[in-house]
Symmetry: C2
Subunit: 444 residues, 2 copies
C-alpha cells in the first residue's frame, strides 16, 4: 500500500459521525489527526473551537502576486445504520476490486484528502505552491454546517480568496470528469404525531380513538399527488424554470438517463414529477422526501397496539430561487392544516441551506475545466447536482467568490448508505486534479 | 404477602413472550411452573408438546352426575417494548397503590391464576369440587393460538364439557362485574414496500425514484376516508347491524361514554366511524389499524436517505358476520390495487380469528351472572368486547359449547402496553368468582 493510501486509511478509521453525540470524541480525534498531517507538510495549521465540532484550517506563506485558492472539505461522516447491511466494517477500510470500501471513503474524506496529497506532492516537487492556499475543513457538514457561517463571518478577511474548489459532488460516470455549476438547497423538519397518552391495546380501544401511525401516514401522503407532484400550496412558486440550453446539454450527458437511473438505484421503475427526465428531476426540480418514518411495534411477530405517537423525518430539496425559510413556512402550514382529526402534531424545524447556481463559463470556471481535462485526459461535462452543500451558497454570499465543484464521486459510491466506496483511480485522479488546478489558476 | 400473591409473583416473573423466539425457553419454564402448581393441588396434569409452545391441562376425577366446566386461559404474554416507558421492571412485579404492576399481571396470568387458586381453596375446604373440572392453559394466545385448534380437534372427546369459563376480558369499571357475550375477530398482515435495491442519498437520487416510506404511507392512508370510515371495497358487506336493545343497554353501561374513552386513553379527542358512540365503535364495528410502521432513519438527528424499503403491520378487528379469510382477500386486493407507482409491495398474511357472539340469557349465562353477583356483591352488566380471543369461537365450533366471559381487567390495566397492572381486589374477587361459578353451575 502506498503512503498516500495509508494516510487515507488512517483518516477513514475515525468514526467521525457528527450527528451522533456519542461520537463527539471521535470527531475531535479525527480533526487532530488532520492537523498533524497538514503540519507535517509544512503548512501553518490551526484548530478552531466552535460550539460544535472543530474547524481545521491550514495555509502556506501567501505572496501578494499570487492568486488565492481556498479548498473546502469536511472530515465528518454520516451514520452507518443499517449496519447489518455492510459487507465490511464501515470504519475498517478495505480494498476490493479497485475500490476502497468504508464510511467516508468518498463523502468526503477520500475527496478532500486527494487535494491535501496533491498539495503535498507539489510541495515535495517544487518546495512551494503556485498559489496562495487556504485549506478549510469542517466537522459538521453532515449536520448542516451550523457553525461555519459564523466562522466565515468572523474570519472574513483572513479567508479572502479568488476562488474556492470543492470536491464533494459527483461525476456522471466513470472516466467522465464533471464540473458542477448548481446545487439543490435543503430544508428539514421532523413531525411527531401524538394521540393517546400511552400505547393502547388495538382491540380494546381500536375504532374509538385516532391512531397516530395512521395519522402520520396520512400527513406523509398529503405531500404529493398520485403522480408525484408536490401538493403543498405555493411550493413551486419560486422555482426557476429550466433553460433550454441546459435541457439540451443534459440530454447528451452520459450516465443520467432514465435507464441509467434504474440500473444505478435498482428501483423497479423511475418515478417523479411529470414532464421531466431523470436528470432534470434530480438537478433542477425540488423534492419532498421522507427520510424516516416510525411508530408502534417494528420487531419480530405482531403486537396489537395503537401507538401513543408516531414520527416522520422530512427533507425538502430546493432549487433556485426557492428560499428555505419560505418553503419551511409553507411546509409547516401544510402539515398543521392537514393534521388528521383526533391527534395533535408537533413540527420541529431542522437545518437548511440555500440552492446554488453559478455561470460555468467564467475565467475560474474555465480553469477548473482545464484542470479536470488534465487529470482525466478527456473534456469534462457540465451539470448541476441533486445534493446540497449549503455552505457553497453561504461562502458565495459571505466571501463574495464562487466555488468550482470538481466532484470525484461515482453514482455507485453509495454515499450516505451501506457499503460506501471510492475508486482508487479517482483518488489518484484527485491528486492530479489538485496539482493541475493550482497550475491552471496560477497561469490564468 | 399472602401465599396466593406469592404464587402470582412467581408466575409473573417468567418472561413468557410467545412472539419472540429468544424467549422460547422462558415460555417453557413458565409452563413447567404451572404444571408443578397444579400437581401440588392434587390435580391430574399434563404438558402437551406442540410445534410451538406447550399446552398445559389439568383435571380432577370426573363423576358422571356432575356438570363439566372447562376453564381456559393463557400463560404467554405480549412483548414489553418500548421498555423505557415502564416505571418498573416488567418481569419483577411490585405492589403499589392496591395494584400489582408487571407484564401479564392482568393479561392473562393474574386472571387465570385467580381461577386456579379458587379451585385450590375449594379443594382445601371441601376435599373435592362440585363440578368436573378441565383446566386448559395455552402458551400461544398472543400469537393467535396456532396450535390450539389442532389440539382441540385431536382431544375433542377428552375435552368434552358443558360450558367454558374464560377470564381474559374486561370489566367496564371498577366494582362493576361484567359478562361479555361478544368478541371482535381479527385478521393481520404485514406489508413491505420495496423500492431501490439499497438506501439512497435523498439529494443525489431524490425526485427520480419513488420513496418506499412515502409509498407505505400512501398505502396506510388509503385504508380510511378522512372521516375514519374504512375505504376497502366490500369491507362492511357482512357486518351485522347493531340491534336496538344493545344500543339502549350500552348507553346505560358506566365507563364507556365518549368522555370515559377520552379520560382513559388520554387522546385529544374521540375519533372513529361516523354515526356510532365509543362503545358501539369498540364492540360492534370493525377497524383497520396500523400497529407498527417503519422505514429509513429513526435515530437521533437527521440522515438524508431514501430507504430501500419500508413496512407496516396491520390488524383488522372484525365483527359478526365478517369472515377473516374473506376480509383478508379484500385487504390484499386493496393493497395491491393501491400500490403506488415506482415500488413493489409484498403482503405477508398473519394470524386471524373469527368474531364471537352468544346469547347472554342462556342457563349457563345466568349461572355466570349469578357467580359475578356473588363475587362482587352487585348485578353484572352485559357487554361485547373490542378485543379478540379467536379461540372462543373455535371452541364453540369444535367442542359445541359456549364460553362465559367473566373478565377481571379494568380499562386502565394497560394490557399490551407499558405499566400493565392488576387490582389486588380483582385478583381476590376472581378467586371468589371461581368458587361461586362452580357452585352455581352445580346447582343450575
Amino acid at each position: 500500500m502506498t503512503p498516500q493510501l495509508e494516510d487515507l486509511f488512517a483518516f477513514l478509521r475515525f468514526p467521525s459521525i457528527s450527528t451522533d453525540s456519542q461520537h463527539r470524541g471521535d470527531v475531535r480525534a479525527c480533526a487532530h489527526w488532520l492537523i498533524e498531517k497538514l503540519r507535517s507538510m509544512g503548512l501553518d495549521t490551526e484548530l478552531h473551537e466552535t460550539p460544535g465540532h472543530p474547524i481545521v484550517t491550514a495555509r502556506n506563506t501567501h505572496q501578494a502576486d499570487k492568486k488565492t485558492l481556498m479548498i473546502y472539505g469536511h472530515y465528518d461522516v454520516q451514520p452507518v445504520d443499517p449496519v447489518e447491511l455492510w459487507d465490511t466494517d464501515p470504519f475498517e477500510p478495505v480494498i476490493k476490486e479497485g475500490r476502497i470500501w468504508g464510511r467516508g471513503s468518498t463523502d468526503n474524506k477520500g475527496q478532500m484528502l486527494a487535494h491535501v496529497l496533491g498539495v503535498e506532492e507539489t510541495l515535495q516537487d517544487h518546495g512551494e505552491l503556485p498559489v496562495n492556499l487556504i485549506l478549510l475543513f469542517e466537522g459538521e457538514e453532515e449536520i448542516g454546517s451550523p457553525n461555519l457561517v459564523p466562522f466565515l463571518e468572523k474570519h472574513k478577511e483572513a479567508l479572502a480568496c479568488d476562488v474556492i474548489a470543492v470536491s464533494d459532488t459527483g461525476m456522471v460516470a466513470k472516466g467522465v470528469p464533471t464540473m458542477g455549476y448548481g446545487l439543490r438547497g435543503i430544508t428539514c423538519c421532523e413531525v411527531t404525531v401524538h394521540g393517546p397518552s400511552g400505547d393502547l391495546h388495538s382491540g380494546v380501544y381500536g375504532g374509538a380513538v385516532a391512531n397516530p401511525a395512521t395519522a402520520v401516514a396520512r400527513l406523509v401522503a398529503s405531500l404529493h399527488d398520485a403522480d408525484g407532484r408536490i401538493a403543498i400550496d405555493g411550493f413551486y412558486d419560486d422555482v426557476r424554470p429550466l433553460e433550454q440550453w441546459e435541457r439540451d446539454m443534459w440530454a447528451k450527458v452520459p450516465g443520467v438517463s432514465d435507464e441509467d437511473t434504474l440500473a444505478i438505484t435498482g428501483s423497479p421503475e423511475t418515478f417523479g414529477e411529470p414532464g421531466y427526465s431523470s436528470s432534470e428531476r434530480l438537478w433542477a426540480r425540488p423534492t419532498a422526501e421522507v427520510n424516516g418514518i416510525g411508530g408502534g411495534y417494528q420487531g419480530e411477530g405482531s403486537k396489537t397496539v395503537i401507538p401513543a405517537k408516531a414520527m416522520a423525518k422530512f427533507s425538502f430539496r430546493l432549487v433556485p430561487d426557492q428560499e428555505p425559510a419560505d418553503i419551511m413556512r409553507k411546509v409547516k402550514a401544510h402539515l398543521l392544516k392537514h393534521c388528521p382529526k383526533g391527534v395533535t402534531v408537533d413540527v420541529e424545524i431542522g437545518h437548511d441551506g440555500k440552492p446554488f447556481f453559478a455561470d460555468p463559463h467564467s475565467e475560474n470556471g474555465k480553469a477548473g475545466q482545464a484542470a479536470l481535462k488534465e487529470a482525466f485526459g478527456v473534456d469534462p461535462v457540465l451539470i448541476r447536482e441533486g445534493g446540497s452543500i449549503p455552505i457553497i451558497q453561504d461562502m458565495k454570499e459571505i466571501l463574495g467568490v464562487e466555488s468550482l465543484m470538481l466532484g470525484l464521486a461515482l453514482p455507485d459510491c453509495q454515499i450516505h448508505a451501506p457499503n460506501e466506496n471510492y475508486w482508487i483511480e479517482n483518488f489518484e485522479a484527485g491528486i492530479r486534479l489538485n496539482k493541475a488546478l493550482m497550475r491552471e489558476l496560477a497561469s490564468s
